[in-house]
Subunit: 341 residues, 3 copies
């Protein structure tokens, strides 16, 4: 796709060339995101950050990405204080707000709403999540993380083996990541979930049609055994139709140091979309793995910033001029760079 001036609404817009273009631009953002360099390439530009649903992490990540390119951020953070609550159409909101900014990020609880909004917007719109539907920057940062983690092991996405664990029926992130992986070749998916929360058939069918191998299991220990990457998500007990099923599976889809050591292949990368629920009744990814070198969850969050910088640079057409205004960071950053690497 031609990114310049485009909306980023769905992973369905992307082919392999455009995904790899995003990743290459993201790579070029690393010196800025890790505070070795600053750039003013978007000095004077304004991001309209419209979060009609709570999301601290995604909102902060987009805002910091835009600031790191030199731009300013203006925010709307809830539905109640917006004109939409007074009966304004998304068309009107889009026509007005797109006159205030150079690019818009929007999160909204209703599936399809961001696309509808984008149609009336006069500036590029990036989908920051529309209900259960799409959250393309999350899928991109997940895939980018897999690429980088495997690169460190001199491996690659084509031909890799990935396990997806948890509520695969309702999980937006595993759906979108699966769709992006359709663009790659010869992947082995192990789908680990309770029978009631299996990955939808239409996604499985697409994966098989694209030549990938799919294994389904409700036995975590079996499923974990032979992967390059394990992608964990949370299961909420209220998702089960019968309490007896919830009881049956309780605690069966958690990962901790002991299970990792016993059942995972050496160097298996551990991922999670975050936030992870660390309360005792959830705890799908135990904190005893916090210092494990293959725990990639915080690198995943860091990668969100460079992916979002790349998306902004691409839709605003500045991906090749970022370095023209670059300068060394002049404040003390040793704590940050030391701990990050």
């Amino acid at each position: 796709m031609n990114f310049r001036g485009s909306h980023i609404i769905s992973v369905d817009q992307l082919n392999r060339v455009s995904v790899e273009k995003i990743f290459d631009v993201a790579d070029s953002m690393t010196p800025y995101a890790s505070r070795l360099q600053t750039t003013k390439v978007l000095d004077g530009a304004i991001l309209g950050s419209m979060f009609f649903e709570a999301s601290t992490r995604t909102r902060m990540s987009f805002g910091c990405a835009f600031n790191s390119l030199g731009g300013s951020v203006r925010e709307i953070v809830d539905m109640k204080t917006s004109s939409i609550s007074k009966g304004e159409s998304l068309y009107d909101t889009a026509r007005v707000i797109s006159g205030y900014s150079d690019v818009i990020v929007m999160r909204h609880p209703s599936p399809g709403s961001v696309e509808e909004f984008a149609k009336a917007s006069r500036v590029p719109v990036i989908n920051g999540g529309d209900g259960d539907n799409e959250h393309p920057s999350q899928a991109l940062l997940d895939l980018y993380t897999i690429r980088k983690e495997l690169e460190h092991k001199r491996s690659m996405i084509d031909g890799m083996r990935i396990a997806m664990v948890g509520d695969l029926k309702n999980g937006r992130t595993v759906h979108s990541l699966s769709k992006l992986l359709l663009l790659y070749k010869n992947i082995t998916f192990t789908m680990i979930s309770p029978n009631e929360l299996k990955m939808p058939n239409e996604i499985l069918d697409q994966l098989i049609l694209a030549g990938h191998k799919v294994i389904e299991t409700d036995n975590m220990k079996v499923g974990l055994s032979d992967n390059d990457t394990v992608y964990l998500t949370r299961i909420q007990e209220e998702r089960f139709e019968k309490q007896s099923d919830a009881d049956l599976y309780r605690g069966q889809f958690k990962l901790n140091q002991e299970i990792y050591t016993q059942h995972c292949a050496p160097n298996t990368v551990i991922m999670h979309p975050l936030p992870r629920d660390s309360r005792a009744n959830a705890n799908e990814l135990d904190s005893d793995l916090n210092l494990h070198p293959n725990l990639a969850i915080f690198r995943q969050a860091d990668n969100g910033v460079v992916i979002r910088m790349a998306l902004f640079a691409l839709v605003l057409g500045v991906e090749d001029s970022v370095h023209k205004t670059s300068a060394p960071v002049k404040w003390f950053t040793d704590t940050r760079t030391t701990t990050t690497t």
Copy 2:
């Protein structure tokens, strides 16, 4: 008036010379607002944006205007998280907050509160709306829109014909716009409203005393027939004292394509303060006019940005130095400029 260092609290502060000064400065802001140029004239300046009442649109418009001049924005967005809820006086709040910023925009539900606040402030305060009382930047952007729309038709405000429609009794915007029009000559006002929601007599008397012509009617079709501009506002059914009156008038003050074609003079400009209520039971301005070339409502919203840029530039005394730091916009803006003009 001398703008430099002044508060902008009420349209009553303005004479015709000062209104036209604002409009001239607003004209000079157009290249910056429409993203042909950037400026850093307020680089280092801080706007304190204090919205003690919900208003996404006005807050965003002021904030983006300030960012577009190169300044930073710090915001307070509700009453509950403010010290006012702990019994702090407006005097104290003003004395403290005015030490944090270079100019303040304030919205507050209590009429008169912004003026009281301004008296204790050490920096210029712009009224962003104080309850039913004043909202001067809205009145200015409305009048500026009329001026620009009529200019396109080689016409002018002096001598024009305007219809105001809807709840003229309670509508802050039509009151303020009427007051500003007192500064102009020989205007014909057609006030279209239910009998219960007529424009207050003191405003009508002022208009007549200033030499304008005033016609009142509760028949929309008759009132629409001979105007340069129609300014629509919403009627809320709960404004009527008797339900029988609400029933009598229901649906009588709406504008759509068919009514426009049958009853309005050719090229009549359509305005609305926004947000318009697009729910079926309101729908005072139908979406079937969305692509009509004389629908000025989104240009109205865009004009809000240049008017607010002009107000900031004037009270901070930089209206003549904006261009000194101007530079071409370096990111891709074709989507925006194409659709806007």
Copy 3:
């Protein structure tokens, strides 16, 4: 202490040399805070401002301080929209958010939470208040205000006489200020409070051990008589165990023009942490003193900005390079500078 890269969690971290270092840097910030000069020393840096508890004033003060150094601010303003409400640990939040910004300010209702957060953060964290526990920048701005006010009178902190008034049992600000004053010599403290709300013994013991003189009284008029500074705080009636005690003391710990003239030594400096409650049933510091030259409460708030600028400059290691990017302010600031001085 070595500030570069450090967290600022508690006044207990500070010795006299480090306190005076902060004050010297704060002095150097005055031209920037009072809008004579701008600086871009933190151009490109991002402050993560995380307020998990309402605090308009402190949040604005930190944000404006960071903007005044040329940096950008990204904010989280409540608990409900944060991932913590979904069971995320402070460790995870810290690891993620510290990847988005160069320095973090955090307020949180739970004592100890900011320190716990800081341990996992990859960038310096400044405590913006953790419940009843610590609020170090408030204590520093209080002490800095005393220093500056006494300097004007050719006096100094060592050897001064200070009265603390009100709820000394629960008041975080008077506890922290007392701790900081342990670093100075030969101070006379007059602790004025109802018997039920006396300063805790461990603090009194520390003061005496450090060689200071401590007087306790529940009689305001007696206590006021011989001080350089009076530091007032609010008493809430619900703090008393018995209503009869509340009745006994009602209105006994207020200061107004008449009491000041009758009971205070000439030129006694009046301080208050703000916000003061101006409702009739509180009114601990009457507005009839608003124009009194020794009322330091608004200078106190202004000093908050330079103290916070100093803390940012020190932890980011730019305290000596602020002037390298300084430039004269180019917008009109006469209203501000005239009224401030």
